[in-house]
């Protein structure tokens, strides 16, 4: 068990790939089919392109507030890739890579950030919850989903995402504690990206690691190099198998870095040193994984360049469609609050329509 070999109290962090994409310890290398290795890489690359372009669109005044993901692609894609189609993804709000791998259409993801709730109505077979903005409150949903799965005798597990700041919330404790008590099949994936807007990780907790919090709940916890997609995958796969076998929840702390701002409304130059950012840029998770794939003979710089350009076009065309989507129809504002509109809502809707007619 990786969770036995890497003790978070001793700050032992699981790392499988070095910066040059070489395997540090052959015994730790997870088995992943070549097709899936490429799917993981391409999803990371698409997330990167979509992220860069979303930020540009926002700067051009074409996109509303957006929460960038650059730097965290391995933590996101590596973890979700270790789950199955039938498992549940319970996001916070900065998991673009995970959403794409899970099958959420990019068009919908952009539609959400463009200000349209339809962006959160994912296709029926995509078992993923909408973005959850109140920090850490989504974790209890994941625990509940997992408890239901267990009661029904199904094998589906849930994976929930939260940040380093989220671990300070009471609901982090409550959700993990519930999951542990009921042995619920859920994985709590902490993306420790070092900063909760302007507040550094050191102000969130006195604990040396976030993974060690698992010890207090009586469950396994492991710290992994969150910029090493193979380490994230290996730790998550083990946790998923454990959950599916009825052995309960796991906390995984993926140590990573938010290279961009918290959201497009944030200016990180106010609170963090440029040199820190430069150091983390050297640990780019995509570069590292690309070298691994090239070393393995599965990928090349030429293919990479071509793929990148393809994605640029795809993202551009997708966003164009989103920009053409127009405004939300009046009826949509009313009709989803209850399964059936209440008399009050019917009256408000009819009255507004009567006043403004077609303009409404």
């Amino acid at each position: 068990m990786l969770t036995d070999r890497f003790n978070p109290l001793k700050e032992e962090m699981l790392c499988i790939l070095d910066q040059d994409g070489r395997i540090i310890d052959k015994n730790l290398e997870p088995f992943i089919e070549n097709d899936n290795l490429l799917r993981i890489y391409k999803t990371m690359l698409l997330a990167k392109v979509a992220d860069i372009k979303a930020l540009q669109y926002q700067r051009q005044g074409r996109m509303l507030t957006y929460a960038p993901n650059r730097g965290q692609e391995a933590a996101q894609v590596g973890s979700i890739a270790a789950t199955e189609k039938n498992d549940w993804l319970v996001p916070a709000f900065r998991e673009l890579g995970a959403w794409l791998y899970k099958g959420a259409p990019l068009e919908q993801i952009f539609l959400y950030w463009y200000g349209n709730e339809m962006g959160s109505k994912f296709p029926d077979d995509v078992k993923m919850l909408p973005v959850s903005v109140p920090i850490a409150s989504q974790l209890n949903h994941a625990t509940g989903i997992a408890m239901a799965s267990k009661i029904k005798g199904e094998k589906d597990v849930a994976i929930a995402y939260v940040g380093d700041g989220g671990t300070s919330q009471g609901e982090f404790h409550e959700a993990v504690n519930f999951a542990a008590v009921f042995n619920a099949p859920v994985i709590f994936l902490i993306q420790n990206n070092q900063w909760a807007i302007s507040v550094p990780r050191s102000i969130q907790t006195k604990s040396k690691t976030l993974a060690q919090k698992a010890i207090a709940y009586g469950i396994p916890g492991i710290q992994v190099d969150g910029n090493d997609v193979l380490a994230v995958y290996a730790a998550t796969k083990e946790a998923v198998d454990r959950a599916r076998n009825g052995d309960g929840p796991t906390i995984i702390e993926a140590v990573t870095y938010r290279l961009g701002p918290h959201t497009t409304s944030d200016d990180p130059t106010i609170y963090r040193d440029e040199n820190e950012v430069k150091e983390w840029e050297k640990k780019d998770p995509i570069e590292r994984f690309k070298k691994y794939l090239i070393n393995k003979g599965l990928w090349s710089e030429e293919e990479d360049k071509k793929q990148y350009e393809e994605y640029e076009n795809y993202v551009g065309e997708t966003f164009k469609k989103v920009e053409e989507s127009g405004l939300v129809p009046l009826e949509d504002i009313f009709k989803y609050t209850y399964a059936e509109m209440t008399p009050n809502l019917v009256e408000q809707y009819e009255e507004y329509k009567k006043y403004f007619g077609e303009e409404a």
Binding site: W88, V90, E117, M118, S120, K121, F122, D124, L129, P130, S132, P134, S137, L139, N140, H141, A142, T143, G144, I145, A146, M147, A148, S149, I151, K152, A158, G170, E171, E174, A175, N177, F178, V181, D332, Y336, T337, Y338, A339, T342, P343, N344
Partner: protein
């Protein structure tokens, strides 16, 4: 038919629905082994097992938060918050998520879940055990708020709440949990959410109340009837969505309106009811629509609670005031 009090009707409704629908699960603090501090869930764990009726760690936010997850994943959770005043840590889950998940996901995720809790004062309890928070919930789009006042309605409304596709806050008037018994049919029936009940027809004034106060109003009516005042009493039963039609029709007939509630007065449910009366029946009014409600204070501890509790003689006085305006 069985002769049941309100708490017995809660147990009977949960039992019959757990029997009928395997996706119904019941949980909360002390709910499983003990059967709840008021014994509302007594016997359910024994009958349906620990998977379907269980005790949880002491965490209201997680009780409600996990119920949301359960509902998303195909269950119908009926969770208990032990007392009205303890629901506050769960408000983030109730307001930010339970009420909004359907709208947020544009209808992909309905949340068929019920949050039960005893509410209201008059039981000589500690702080946080005597509150009437119905207006807090009724103010939130996406929630339904239901309050029964009889054993018959308790069963019918609770079954309707469990089968409702939207989240329902089910407030149980703890003061009258064991106050009286009523014939409750064994067979399946529901009382529709969103429909008030005319408890008693009358001509001179419409009085709207709910929960434990229905009985208090009935006592007041006995008094004022001796003086020849004819009262129409409406049990609101659902605070949200509100049954405006029944109230408006009644006020058009009587021309006078009084709402009585234990929840504090300012920004309370009475304000909403009076607005409805003013908007829809203004020209029929012969006196200002009036409210008799809890003072704008924290519910006093038992040595002072008698000042706060609304008694029949106060209600009778208020009825006369409105009629004689």
């Amino acid at each position: 038919m069985a002769l049941l009090n309100i708490i017995g009707a809660v147990t009977h409704a949960l039992d019959s629905e757990m029997e009928r629908d395997k996706t119904v699960v019941v949980y909360g603090e002390d709910v499983g082994y003990e059967g709840g501090v008021f014994r509302a869930t007594v016997g359910l764990q024994k009958k349906y097992g620990v998977d379907r009726c269980f005790d949880t760690p002491l965490s209201e936010a997680a009780i409600v938060g996990t119920a949301i997850g359960m509902a998303i994943n195909g269950m119908k959770p009926v969770v208990e918050i032990q007392f009205d005043g303890f629901v506050l840590p769960a408000l983030n889950q109730i307001i930010a998520h339970a009420a909004r998940m359907r709208n947020r996901s544009r209808g992909k995720y309905n949340l068929p879940m019920v949050i039960r809790m005893p509410y209201g004062g008059g039981i000589r309890a500690l702080e946080h055990h005597s509150e009437s928070p119905e207006a807090i919930f009724a103010h939130i789009p996406g929630l339904k708020v239901v309050i029964p006042s009889t054993p018959y309605d308790t069963k019918g409304l609770l079954l309707a709440a469990i089968r409702d596709p939207d989240p329902v806050i089910f407030l149980e008037p703890k003061r009258i949990y064991r106050a009286f018994k009523q014939e409750v049919p064994e067979e399946d029936y529901t009382v529709p959410i969103g429909k008030a009940k005319i408890v008693k027809s009358g001509e001179d004034i419409t009085v709207v109340a709910w929960g434990a106060l229905i009985r208090e109003v009935q006592k007041a009516i006995e008094e004022v009837e001796k003086e020849g005042i004819s009262v129409e009493l409406i049990d609101l039963r659902t605070i949200s969505p509100i049954d405006r039609e029944t109230i408006i029709e009644s006020v058009k007939k009587t021309g006078r309106f009084l709402v009585v509630h234990e929840a504090v007065k300012s920004f309370g449910p009475g304000a909403e009811l009076i607005s409805i009366v003013n908007e829809k029946a203004f020209l029929y009014l012969e006196a200002p629509p009036t409210r008799l409600a809890g003072f704008d204070v924290t519910v006093p501890l038992p040595r002072g609670e008698h000042h706060f509790i609304i008694e029949p003689r106060q209600i009778a006085k208020k009825i006369k005031e409105v009629v004689e305006f």
